[in-house]
Each structure stands twice: as structure tokens, then as C-alpha cells.
């Protein structure tokens, strides 16, 4: 009798497992992405084609969710069901690099009839066990138990936007964090794994995914909001006494209001932010989350869509004020040193001097440890001086390197220096560089004068012969894009 029970139990479980597996494999597919990231050292071309595989999960009929990182710089995307080799060409429906999420749809409508959308579950609780689904390269999917260890503030690898991530304990983290769906015990989607370290797998939580989907379904995607403020903690009782903040008030000190903040003319430095909406904020920037306990107040922004009115309660000289503004979408391209240039690397060559924008993509050419290896003045500026500008069109322009040519003799050792001025004009973008180059010095024998940051010094190049030099350089270095070179039209 005992053995019969064990057999029946095992059979039922196998059946459940088998049918569950079949269910999963109707909702989760393997995605092959062919991508070509830019070559930051030669920005007129791209690097070798890279083939990568990920998992995508159907969230709506014909719509597959995947991490944005997976499809960055993509040139082609294909989907296949697990265990099935036939490929369905896909294209990008929507991508938001700020939260590292993207939606794909088939090129041909109805091509994913064999798939069913996955159910969306409720958010997880701390210590709740979920399943991390992997198998991007296998003939079947597999599950790894993943315990939700904590929620914490972090940034997507594709942006500097901060939001709350789930940190899962998984027995082996190696090889995970490549867009694996996270499912609860009932097989419902509750997160998307997008990164790992030796201890944890990091996942985008359901709230962010839900926000992203609903925003898309509204018809015109607004994005995630930003306040445009910088804060300091007020947990020092001495600081609170010094600033004369009553003991019964808790909140964070507003230390800076960024140029693109919707609160620019409404808030003041040293205002104390007490609440966002109805939630009170603690002195260390945390609030009491119903499900997760103490969580950073940034989590509250996920309750809003960009453009929504967000009410802030602040303390100013003992007065409590309610200040509202229509939030703006976070846009990393507004920053002086923006994130990855997913739409191409802006650059310009003059006489063999290769100028381009400083961005996170360029800094990452020094590898994962770029904060240690990249030129310290660039790293410093990225970490300490990187702010958005009102119009978002100011940049730091660097001289990447010099493409040796007789025209630039004497300067060929220069590389990785920040450009300040050209022909006496400040340069803060590639367009302003082009403009400055249109105004040579010394009319009789025109020259371009370049001034660099710190000890980069000043160098001078002739305009005469520049077209011929450009022709030589284009041929020598296989530069086929016409727009790479300066032309004085």
C-alpha cells in the first residue's frame, strides 16, 4: 500500500511537472539576438556581430517581455519555442532603457499563436520562495529556487535611473541574470532577473513590470518619473538641532534642485521633504512599505507615471507646505555625461583628431573596472559633476585619439583628453564643435586652435589641405561615413 502511494504521488507530481513544463514552455521562449555594439575607439563602425541568447516571456497576446539590455544594439531578433528549432523573426515594440525592459512582437502578426500569455502574480514578500526559470540554451526549461532576500535601491545596467530591485538568494548565481523570468509558486510572473553577483540575482520587481506594461497599454508611453532633486539624510540629531528641525518631523534634506526639475521654481535648498503623496519619509530616506518593511522612498515614484502630478510635503522654516508639480520622465540623455548611446556615437574627425561625446559607453571601454582604469578626471566628472541641463544638449567632448597622418604630425601621442575650446569658443557638444570649426583663426593662413583640459595643452592644425588629409585618413583607416569628417559648408 505504501509503495502504491509513493508511486501515485510520484506519478501525479511528474504529471504536474510535465504539464506545468508544457505550460511554461507555451509562455516562455528562447530569444536569439544578433547585435553589433558600436566601436567607441572607431565610432564610424560597429564591432563584430555578437549572437546572444535570452529568455522572453509572453505577457500579452503576441507581446513578449525581455530585458532592454538583451536587445541593445540589436540588428536582428528571433524567437523559438523551447525544443523547437523554427525561428520567428521579432521586432521591438517598446524599449525603456531606464528600467531595463523591452517588449517584442513578431514581424508577422499571428506568428506566436502557439504561445499563451503568462499570468501575472502578486508581489512577493521577503523570504518568499520563487522560481527562477532558466534554459536559454537548453532543450527544456529548468527552475531554480530563489528566495527573496531583500529589496534594495539600485540602477539598471542600461541607465543611471534608480529604482527598487529584488535580491534573490539562489544556490548558484553564475550564468543567471540574463532576462530570466521569476515565477511564484503558482507559476505567475513576479519579476525578471537582470543581473547577478556572487551572492544574489537581481531582478526587476513586478511593480516596475506592471507599470511598464500599463503605460504601454495606454497608447502613448510616458515613462518613469523623476523629481530632479538631490537629498541628504537627517538622521544626525546634531544636524537637526543645527537646522532647527523639530524633533517630531522626519524627512530628508533637499540639497540640490537640478536644472530640469519640475520643482525648480517651487522648492528651495534646505527644504525638508516630509512626504511624497501620503507616505511619510524617515530621516534616512526610508518609509514603511506594507509588504517589505523599510524601503527607500524612491520606490514611491513607481506609483506615478511621468506627467502625473506628484505632491510633495516639505518643511521650510517651521512651515509645512504642500507643493505639487507635473513630473517629467527621467531621460539619461539630458545629462552632461549620458548613459549608453543606443542611437549611435556622435563624433567628428578634423585633420585626424577624433572627437566624440563622453558617455557611459565610452567609459565602459575600460571594462567592468572602468571606475579604476578610465582616466581619473573623466571618472570624477561622471560621478561628481554629472547633472542634467535644461535642454539636455550639453556634453563633454573628448579627443579620443589622433589618427596619424602627416597633417597632424607632432600630436599623434595625444589621447583621452577633454576638449574645452576651439578657436576661442567653448565647446559643449558635437554641433558646437562643428560651429566653432567654422570660425578659423588667422584669416591669411587659417588654423584651428584646440584647447584641452588641464595639461592637455593647446594644439593648432591647418585648414589648408584638410580635405586632402581627410581623403587620406578615410582611405587609410577605412572610414566610409561621410558625416564623420568636418566639412566647412
Amino acid at each position: 500500500m505504501k509503495y502504491l502511494f509513493i508511486l501515485v504521488y510520484a506519478f501525479l507530481n511528474l504529471t504536474v511537472l510535465a504539464s506545468e513544463r508544457q505550460g511554461l514552455e507555451r509562455s516562455i521562449a528562447q530569444i536569439t539576438v544578433y547585435s553589433q555594439p558600436p566601436d567607441f575607439d572607431a565610432p564610424w563602425r560597429k564591432k563584430n556581430i555578437k549572437t546572444s541568447r535570452f529568455l522572453g516571456v509572453m505577457v500579452r497576446p503576441g507581446i513578449v517581455l525581455i530585458s532592454a539590455h538583451s536587445i541593445a544594439y540589436q540588428s536582428m531578433i528571433e524567437l523559438n519555442l523551447v525544443g523547437d528549432s523554427s525561428k520567428v523573426p521579432m521586432e521591438v515594440e517598446l524599449v525603456d532603457f531606464n528600467v531595463n525592459l523591452a517588449l517584442l512582437r513578431p514581424r508577422e502578426a499571428g506568428a506566436l499563436k502557439g504561445m499563451t500569455p503568462i499570468d501575472i502574480g502578486p508581489p512577493l514578500k521577503i523570504n518568499e520562495v520563487a522560481a527562477l526559470i532558466s534554459g536559454k540554451n537548453k532543450q527544456r526549461l529548468s527552475r531554480s529556487p530563489a528566495r527573496l532576500h531583500e529589496v534594495s535601491l539600485n540602477q539598471a545596467s542600461t541607465s543611471s535611473y534608480s529604482f527598487i530591485f529584488h535580491l534573490f538568494e539562489v544556490r548558484k548565481t553564475h550564468g543567471l541574470g540574463w532576462s530570466e523570468p521569476v515565477l511564484d509558486t503558482k507559476g505567475r510572473l513576479t519579476g525578471l532577473a537582470v543581473g547577478q553577483d556572487s551572492d544574489f540575482v537581481y531582478a526587476i520587481p513586478l511593480k516596475i513590470i506592471d507599470h511598464f506594461l500599463k503605460d504601454w497599454m495606454n497608447g502613448s508611453y510616458q515613462g518613469f518619473p523623476m523629481l530632479g532633486l538631490r537629498f541628504g539624510g537627517l538622521d544626525s540629531p546634531f544636524l537637526r538641532r543645527y537646522l532647527d528641525i523639530p524633533q517630531n518631523e522626519t524627512g530628508v534634506l533637499i540639497t540640490s534642485i537640478l536644472e530640469n526639475s519640475p520643482y525648480l521654481d517651487k522648492l528651495k535648498v534646505n527644504d525638508v521633504l516630509l512626504k511624497i503623496g501620503r507616505e511619510s519619509i524617515g530621516n534616512n530616506g526610508y518609509f514603511n512599505h506594507k509588504r517589505w518593511g523599510r524601503v527607500h522612498f524612491i520606490e514611491l515614484l513607481a506609483n506615478y507615471y511621468a506627467g502625473d502630478e506628484i505632491k510633495l510635503t516639505v518643511l521650510r522654516s517651521h512651515d509645512t507646505l504642500e507643493i505639487s508639480a507635473n513630473s517629467r520622465p527621467y531621460d539619461q540623455q539630458m545629462y552632461l555625461i549620458p548613459g549608453y548611446p543606443f542611437s549611435g556615437v556622435k563624433h567628428l574627425v578634423f585633420g585626424g583628431l577624433l572627437f566624440q561625446e563622453l558617455n557611459l559607453g565610452f567609459l565602459n571601454t575600460w571594462g567592468k573596472k572602468w571606475q579604476r582604469r578610465a582616466p581619473v578626471e573623466m571618472v570624477y566628472k561622471y560621478l561628481n559633476e554629472n547633472k542634467p541641463t535644461r535642454n539636455g544638449n550639453k556634453r563633454i567632448i573628448i579627443l579620443n585619439r589622433v589618427l596619424p597622418d602627416p597633417h597632424n604630425k607632432g600630436y599623434q601621442g595625444l589621447s583621452n583628453v577633454i576638449l574645452l575650446k576651439v578657436n576661442g569658443r567653448e565647446v559643449d557638444s558635437i554641433p558646437s564643435l562643428r560651429e566653432a570649426l567654422k570660425h578659423p583663426r588667422n584669416k591669411e593662413k587659417p588654423v584651428a586652435v584646440f584647447e584641452f583640459y588641464a595639461a592637455g595643452g593647446k594644439i593648432v592644425l591647418d585648414y589648408h589641405g584638410i580635405s586632402v588629409a581627410h581623403g587620406r585618413i578615410a582611405k587609410n583607416y577605412q572610414i566610409h561615413t561621410d558625416s564623420t569628417f568636418f566639412k566647412n559648408n
Binding site: 540639497t255 561628481n384 607632432g410 600630436y411 594644439i459 593648432v460
Partner: protein
């Protein structure tokens, strides 16, 4: 019989009848090939034999303690090391500064002696890695002949390095060839550049401070090895040694001057640059791209000047001059000058030729880009907050790869403070290097390694400013603002003043400041 001359008969006999003898002689000769040069050298060097050499070249044994940059009122652990020194007359032994840096006890011993002799460090020059030791009694040198100095060693000529490298107790002699003469950074300083000579003989630990001889004279002091290459060593050449000896002749070491200039080498190869700066075709030179505010060139040399001569040595487009038959960076000329002398630059400024005389003076700031070797680093402690002077040594607390591993903002300000308006003219960069935990300073934990900007509204330009600033400002609070931190450290004044002596006692801090 064929006619054979007398000579031929003899030759034939050596060749034919004494083949075995001839072969034996060749075998012996081959074995002597190794020994023969050494014997030759030991006999020919200075006209002294090896016994005399043994009386003049010594093993230097050192017990040292390095400063502790984390708890700067304490000394670090003791360690033992050894090097080489040699007699230069007047009761003086020349060796390297790095052999005796941080020394608490130094002895010298000659090969063949059965006991060491205590010596004192009379002069130490960390900027050029040289030091002078003096024995307690001049009897020690009674049989010693001072080694004499020659000029810059000749390229591609043989040199002999004499010393006491690890691996034995006896004097060791190795040969090499002078392979390169350049102007490069000395490791012991970490910042200062001087003429440097490369030899292809191994210079091993223990050789440091030993004489390097070419012909009959000392042409350098062995001091560095190339860790990435075999049989490559470096020596401090005699021009640098002679400069050091002349510097200390007045009883005080003034140090090497810092030219404080950065130039664009090779920039005048470009025709457009030459035209723009009005540089005639027959003129060489380099363009000045940066002038430090704290050196004597400031105010006299300008950015954009074209330097084409230094003390009437023409400067090439590569920034080099001819010095003692070799081409060397022009800065070496300035580097070899004594304090108080003058250097004449011939330069072009906006197309006009000028001669500018620059006095050779000490650098005007504490913040040193070089390694420092104090007994205690400069520091001050207040209410448990440890304020230190930012230095290369401080950054080396992050390990051998400090230039990558130290915090970004410290690395940045260490190199670029000269171009930051706030710090351009400070004498010293003050870091909150640590905290002796106490309730009064508990909130400062977030600010460790931050650079101090102001205390009570007073800008801080050196450690001495701290004690001057503390009494100022708000009656109830002491406010310490850190660079790039919008929120200050705030401490109740009365609590901080009360806690200060208690903290010193609790953590056994003595002295509570060192500002030498």
C-alpha cells in the same frame, strides 16, 4: 724535405707535435674566461686590489619602522633590511635613501670583518634616493681608500657593480654594459625625475647603494631593478650624486628644485603650430602647456611660451638637450641646479624672443606629489576626528595599485588640485582620514576619506588652520563642511570640547597632532 723557415718550423711544432698541449691550453683559457675579467677588473679598478675594495664597500644593515598613515601617532612595525654603501672620504659613506628610510638602527660591516659598526644617518635625500652615513669613529676608515667619481657613464661601455646582494655575505661583483641614459622617475620618490642610467647587469636586493664603476671611477650608485625584465638595473649617475654632495656641503640638504612646467613634446613638428607661434624654421624647442602655481617658474614662464634654450643649451623638438655627450630631457638641467642659483631660459613669447632668468627656489606647498618619509605623517585629531595631509603615501594605503584602487575623488584631487579654483593655492589637502568612535562624532562615519573644505565657515588650506577655525563660528555648533558633500558634519561645541581629551585618553593618542 720542403724548405721550412725557422719560424714555420716552430709553429709547425706547436701545431703538430704539441696538439694536445695546445688543446689543453685552450681548455684552460675557456675556464678562465669567466674568472679572467674579474681578476683583471679587481686588479685594474682604481689600481686597487680586491682587498682594498673590501675596505671601502660595506654592507649596510638597517632596522626600520615606517610611519602609520592610518593611526598617524603610532609607528608601524619594525622590519630589517640591508643594502650597500661605499666610502667617499671625510668619514662618509654614500648609500641610497631607500636603504635607510625610517631607520632606527643602522650598522655597516666590511667583508672580512667579524663585527658591524654603528653609523648615523647624516643626510638623507628622498627626492634623489641618496644618503650619507657617518661612523661613530673615523678609525673605521683607517684602511679605506675613498672611491672617486667620474662623469656620466659612457653608453655601450662596460661597468662593474659592487655590493652585497642577497644570497651571500661576501662582496659580489657583477658586470654589465651601460644600455640607456634617460630622464625618468625615481621609484623611492615616486614623483621626482632625474637622470637615470640603465645597465644590463642584474641589480638585486642588497645591491642598493653600491658603487658602479667604469674604468677606474665611480659613475653611479646602484639603486633600482626592472622587475619586468631580466638583467636590467638602474643606477643614479654621478651628475645627480655630485649635485647631492654639493648641496650638503653647507651642512644642510635643500633638495632638488621642481621646474613646475609641462610641455608639449613634438608639438613644434607641426607646421601650423610653428606658424601660429611664430617659430622660425631653424628654431627647435617645446611649447609650455602648464605652469604650476607653487614653483619659481610661475609668473616668469607662461603657458604658450616656446622654450628653445635652457642655460644656452638648445632644446630640440623632442624637448632634449645635449648634456655630457648624451641627449637628455631639458628639465634635467634645471633639476641639477642648486637652490639659490639661476637658470636662463631663452624663449619665444607671442613671436618675440626673450631671455628669462628663473631663480631656483623651493616649492611653496606642503602637498607633495612625491612619497614622504617622515617619522610621523602630518595630522591633527579633534573630538575623535583624524585629519591627515593627503599625500602619495596616504594613497598608497590602498595598495600597490593605489592609482586605480584609491577613491576616485582622492586620486583626482591629488593630481588636479592645481586646476581647481578652490584648491589651486592651498598648501595642503586635508583629509578626514579616520574617526575614533564616540557619540559626539558618530555622524562623521559617512564622511571618512572626504576632503575638508571649511570649518565654521573658514576655508581650510593646511592642517594648522583647523585649530584656528574651531573656536570660530556658531556659539553652539562646530560645523565641518567637506568638499562635494552638501551636508556638513555638525557637532555640539560644548560636547565636542568636552569629549576631546577623553577620546585622546581612551584611544591612547599621543601626540594629538604632528605638524612638522
Amino acid at each position: 724535405m720542403n724548405h721550412i723557415s725557422e719560424n714555420e718550423r716552430l709553429t709547425c711544432s706547436l701545431t703538430t707535435t704539441s696538439k694536445w698541449a695546445h688543446q689543453a691550453f685552450r681548455n684552460i683559457l675557456a675556464r678562465m674566461r669567466v674568472l679572467f675579467p674579474l681578476l683583471l677588473i679587481s686588479v685594474s679598478a682604481f689600481g686597487l686590489d680586491s682587498a682594498h675594495l673590501r675596505r671601502s664597500v660595506y654592507k649596510v644593515n638597517v632596522v626600520s619602522q615606517k610611519p602609520n598613515f592610518s593611526q598617524p601617532w603610532q609607528l608601524g612595525r619594525q622590519s630589517r633590511g640591508s643594502g650597500t654603501g661605499f666610502y667617499i672620504g671625510d668619514g662618509r659613506i654614500l648609500t641610497n635613501a631607500h636603504v635607510v628610510a625610517g631607520a632606527r638602527y643602522v650598522t655597516v660591516q666590511r667583508d672580512g670583518d667579524d663585527h658591524p659598526t654603528i653609523v648615523k644617518i647624516r643626510y638623507i635625500a628622498h627626492d634623489c634616493d641618496l644618503a650619507i652615513l657617518e661612523a661613530e669613529s673615523t678609525d673605521f676608515f683607517r684602511d679605506a681608500a675613498p672611491l672617486t667619481f667620474g662623469g656620466l657613464p659612457k653608453l655601450r661601455r662596460q661597468v662593474v657593480t659592487i655590493g652585497y646582494p642577497k644570497g651571500g655575505e661576501q662582496i659580489s661583483i657583477t658586470e654589465g654594459i651601460v644600455s640607456r641614459i634617460s630622464y625618468r622617475r625615481y621609484i623611492h620618490s615616486g614623483y621626482h625625475r632625474h637622470i637615470l642610467v640603465q645597465v644590463d647587469s642584474a641589480i638585486n636586493p642588497g645591491n642598493s647603494g653600491g658603487p658602479v664603476i667604469q674604468g677606474k671611477q665611480v659613475v653611479g650608485v646602484a639603486f633600482q631593478a626592472h622587475t619586468g625584465a631580466e638583467n636590467t638595473g638602474y643606477i643614479i649617475p654621478t651628475p645627480v650624486v655630485k649635485r647631492f654632495l654639493e648641496d650638503i656641503s653647507d651642512g644642510k640638504y635643500d633638495g632638488h628644485p621642481d621646474i613646475g612646467l609641462m610641455v608639449l613634446k613634438g608639438g613644434l613638428n607641426n607646421a601650423a603650430m610653428r606658424r601660429y607661434l611664430h617659430v622660425e624654421d631653424d628654431l627647435g624647442g617645446v611649447v609650455v602647456i602648464f605652469v604650476a602655481s607653487y614653483t619659481s617658474t610661475n609668473g616668469l614662464i607662461q603657458k604658450g611660451d616656446v622654450l628653445f634654450e635652457i642655460n644656452h643649451h638648445p632644446i630640440g623638438l623632442d624637448g632634449k638637450v645635449i648634456f655630457e655627450g648624451e641627449r637628455i630631457n631639458f628639465k634635467a638641467i634645471f633639476d641639477l641646479m642648486q637652490m639659490g642659483k639661476k637658470v636662463v631660459f631663452s624663449l619665444l613669447r607671442k613671436g618675440k624672443k626673450l631671455e628669462v632668468t628663473v631663480p631656483v627656489e623651493r616649492s611653496r606647498r606642503h602637498h607633495d606629489l612625491a612619497n614622504i618619509y617622515p617619522k610621523f605623517p602630518r595630522f591633527d585629531v579633534f573630538a575623535g576626528l583624524i585629519f591627515s595631509s593627503l599625500s602619495r603615501n596616504y594613497l598608497k594605503g590602498w595598495g600597490a595599485n593605489w592609482y586605480q584602487d584609491a577613491p576616485v575623488h582622492l586620486r583626482f584631487i591629488h593630481w588636479y588640485s592645481q586646476i581647481l579654483p578652490r584648491f589651486k593655492n592651498v598648501e595642503e589637502l586635508v583629509v578626514l582620514s579616520g574617526r575614533l568612535p564616540d557619540p559626539v562624532n558618530i555622524e562623521a562615519r559617512r564622511f571618512e576619506e572626504a576632503i575638508v573644505d571649511e570649518i565654521n565657515g573658514i576655508p581650510i588650506s593646511k592642517l594648522e588652520d583647523i585649530q584656528a577655525a574651531i573656536p570660530k563660528g556658531d556659539a553652539d555648533f562646530i560645523q565641518i563642511k567637506m568638499w562635494n558633500h552638501p551636508v556638513p558634519i555638525v557637532m555640539p561645541r560644548s560636547d565636542a570640547l568636552k569629549a576631546h581629551p577623553d577620546i585622546l585618553k581612551k584611544y591612547d593618542v599621543f601626540p594629538e597632532r604632528w605638524l612638522k
